[in-house]
Amino acid sequence: MTQATLLRQIIDYSSRADPYPLYAELRKTPVLQEGDDLFVVSTYWEIKSLLHDPRISSDARNLSPSAAGTLLQEEEEASALPPAFLRLDPPEHDRLRRMTMRPFGPPETPRRVHNMRGELARIVSGLIDGFGDRNRIDVVDDFSYPFPVTVICRLLGVPREDEALFHSWADTIAAGLDPDPGQDPGERRRVTQQARTELGKYLSGLIDERSGAPGDDMLSALVTQHGEDGQMTRMELLSTASLLLIAGHETTVNLITNGMLTLLRNPDVLERLRGDPGLALPIVEELLRFEPPVQLLPQRTTLADIDINGVTIPKGASVWLVLASGNRDPQRFPDPDRFDPDRKDNQHLGFGSGIHNCFGAPLARLEAQLALTELARRLNSPRLVEDPPPYRQNAVLRGPRHLNITFDGFHA
């Protein structure tokens, strides 16, 4: 097997259910060159060091022209919006992220996420109550999919009566990230683009409304703030709000679904969680290591030649950082293929590291902790209908498309 095929194998759908043996193969060459312009980094310390390296850019404009077309057929968002801070470097990144953080987290708003706890718990309870008298559900469609969209609606301040609209746009955009091979790509792009446009128009109207009558939601705060960093432009507001929706959605769906799948494969841990809700914290951290929702970061490029592990990555190359592989690196984590919530010193790469580390991490943690604790507590004898479950196409935002489970009723 040549190394080039190894990378294609990882991207190939047939490996989606269990890419980890392929990652182990990949780690034998910590910095693997694929073609002229792509370098794949798969070991913990090398990934960590590049995440903190100021010679690495997240801005696609720094890619050399030949490196711009990658193996991943990423939907080119023919979007009129400027890149959000996820795809920017300092100082633009820092300014936009700082302005977005101001109404979301410390130091200015340390209690935003904490104060959402009650509301999150109510959303979770409502979704479980909605299982009704069924004894079989799809964890994805019935639970982990609707939950984060509702949370983002509440965070941004989308009126309740518009949440259904918001859900349908989010569904369409998410489907665009997860192409069905049988579908006509042109049609898919058209439908996705239409959803993006409608979402943009909707948000634009909401921005107008909030600038006149601000509430205590995050969008109002973003619209009205004018501190040392000035104000966000309309375009910046739209791209930031879209980023929060898309980045905060699909990843959380996968975290919760991967979590339930892993707990059902480790019934002893599920049983412990049932008796000790405090265990949700280390369980979610171990999940972020063991089954991270973002498997790899394909958007980095080099501003200079970088020597790492005996390889020189040339300026302008495309660099993939395979977080999920670094998380299973035996040089860093003893017995890495074991799911062990009692693991000490679990400094995983599940949320990345460095200046682009996951913006919504505190919210995602809380969502996953509450979701898994309640599923564990309320469902009687939950069981997997099939293992492995069917996966989404997407190799980057990896997770099951459906997770059918049966159970013997649920507690109030």
Binding site: S49, P54, R55, D89, G354, N357
Partner: protein
């Protein structure tokens, strides 16, 4: 008894005494137990309190967000130790292996760890230092007293000395809305630790936050009223400041007086030890049973030309204590060197400052990322053509990269493009450290010569 047998006996039923019951002492004790030491363990501390954490004292405690008695360090395991708190060690008899205590008691040891730390350098004029309203800030009790006084809304606070502690105190006072004057002998705040280039940024930061900052100036006298309350300070430019609180922040002095005449290589710059934390005696011979850790230690560092470094850093105290404890109960082949790369942080005027390496060794500095005028930047220091340190204001996430540059002796100035490189980052400039032979309170890293007993740099208090 064979060497191995002696070590096994020591680990099983030996007597280990730790002088100093703060961060380094506690972490060393925990490491000893974690590594299987089952003998008797004694911790001696001059303060009556169980080990507590100091960084919050000049921040959350002064702001009133936390109380001084809630700063106890977390215990990671049960120690089963004899605690001798509130009683200072007053002498060491190395031949008899005994520590003398202030209450006349003596404690025998098979292995001794000295982690006595530092104390705040007091105001040099005793009668003035005793005025009501004159404070230092080092201990929990200091912090509680100062916090109470700040809460009583004094008309003005005078901070004498703009090193890290002084600057953090000034920041807390401004956050409480109190008028503050800072008097600094050097050209700028933090100049001893970070040099003149960053010092100017720190000065702008203080003034923007409403501090009445006066640099290049000394406080010559503190004047009290008849009942002994501070009323006024006299400055070297002939001016006076009416104030009823003065905080003396002139740096720290190593707690080594108790070792005078012991034969140990101890002096005002600390206790010299090897990279394995074993203390040197005055002859420059390393001892087998006396170890040193934390602020009081001076140890040679391979990355910095084997110079002896004295570090007043939280992280250093932890790392060195763990290394010392490990080495105390290990055979020579299992001993580890203390190779911690110096690092510290500070929070003041809304800015997170972090440093790695030894900035004060720097000859030149370059603004590698960001901009000094934005107060968000990463500066890199060069020494003889290599990267020796980096300091970030509100950009701390990049320092991991620069730490590796220091560890790998990467060339200076950096010859590669990076994100956020501005025009001011194209050329290095002189780092502008004050002449090291001049007394300064500032640096929290000092490089103090090559030989274990070299005491050539000593502090001379400012003249009145």
């Amino acid at each position: 008894m064979s060497g191995d047998g002696a070590l096994a006996w020591l680990r099983r039923e030996g007597r280990i005494v730790i002088v100093g019951a703060s961060l380094a002492g506690l972490r060393a004790a925990e490491t000893l137990r974690k590594e299987g030491f089952t003998g008797s363990l004694t911790l001696i501390g001059d303060e009556p309190h169980e080990p507590y954490d100091r960084p919050p004292l000049s921040k959350q405690v002064l702001l009133g967000h936390a109380t001084a008695d809630r700063t106890a360090l977390p215990r990671r395991l049960a120690l089963d130790a004899h605690w001798r708190l509130g009683v200072a060690a007053t002498g060491l008899d190395m031949a008899a292996k005994r520590v003398r205590l202030a209450d006349g008691d003596e404690v025998e040891y098979d292995r001794l760890l000295i982690a006595t730390g530092v104390h705040a350098r007091p105001w040099p004029h005793k009668s003035e230092a005793e005025l009501d309203g004159v404070f230092v800030l080092r201990t929990r009790d200091d912090a509680a007293r100062l916090q109470r006084r700040l809460a009583a809304s004094p008309r003005r606070v005078l901070v004498i000395g703009a090193g890290f502690t002084g600057s953090e105190i000034a920041s807390a006072c401004r956050e409480r809305g109190l008028p503050v004057t800072v008097a600094e002998r050097g050209a700028a705040p933090l100049v001893g630790a970070l040099g003149g280039v960053i010092g100017r940024a720190a000065a702008d930061l203080q003034r923007e936050h409403g501090v009445d900052l006066r640099c290049g100036i000394m406080v010559t006298a503190l004047e009290g009223d008849a009942p002994g309350r501070l009323r006024r300070a006299h400055l070297s430019d002939g001016t006076t400041i009416d104030t009823d609180v003065a905080v003396v922040s002139l740096g720290a002095t190593r707690n080594t007086e108790w070792l005078a005449g012991s034969g140990l290589g101890a002096g005002p710059r600390g206790i010299a030890c090897d990279a394995g934390c074993r203390a040197f005696d005055v002859r420059g011979i390393v001892t087998d049973d006396v170890f040193v850790a934390g602020d009081v230690a001076r140890s040679p560092h391979a990355l910095f030309g084997y110079q002896f470094l004295s570090l007043e850093h939280w992280g250093n105290a932890v790392a060195q204590a763990e290394t010392a404890a490990h080495n105390m109960i290990s055979s020579s082949s299992e001993r580890r060197p203390h190779l911690w790369v110096p690092a510290f942080w500070s929070a003041q005027f809304g800015v997170n400052i972090k440093s790695v390496g030894v900035p004060s060794l720097g000859e030149e500095v370059i603004v590698a990322q960001g901009s000094l005028s934005d107060r968000r930047f990463t500066c890199v220091y060069g020494y003889q053509g290599r990267v020796i340190a980096a300091v970030a204001f509100d950009q701390t996430k990049w320092l991991e990269f620069y730490q590796r540059q220091i560890e790998s002796a990467a060339p200076f100035p950096p010859d590669y493009p990076s994100v956020d490189r501005r025009p001011e980052g194209l050329r290095p400039v002189p780092a502008e450290f004050p002449d090291p032979s001049l007394p300064t309170h500032g640096p929290s890293v000092t490089v103090s010569g090559y030989s274990p007993t070299d005491q050539r740099i000593t502090f001379v208090p400012a003249h009145a």
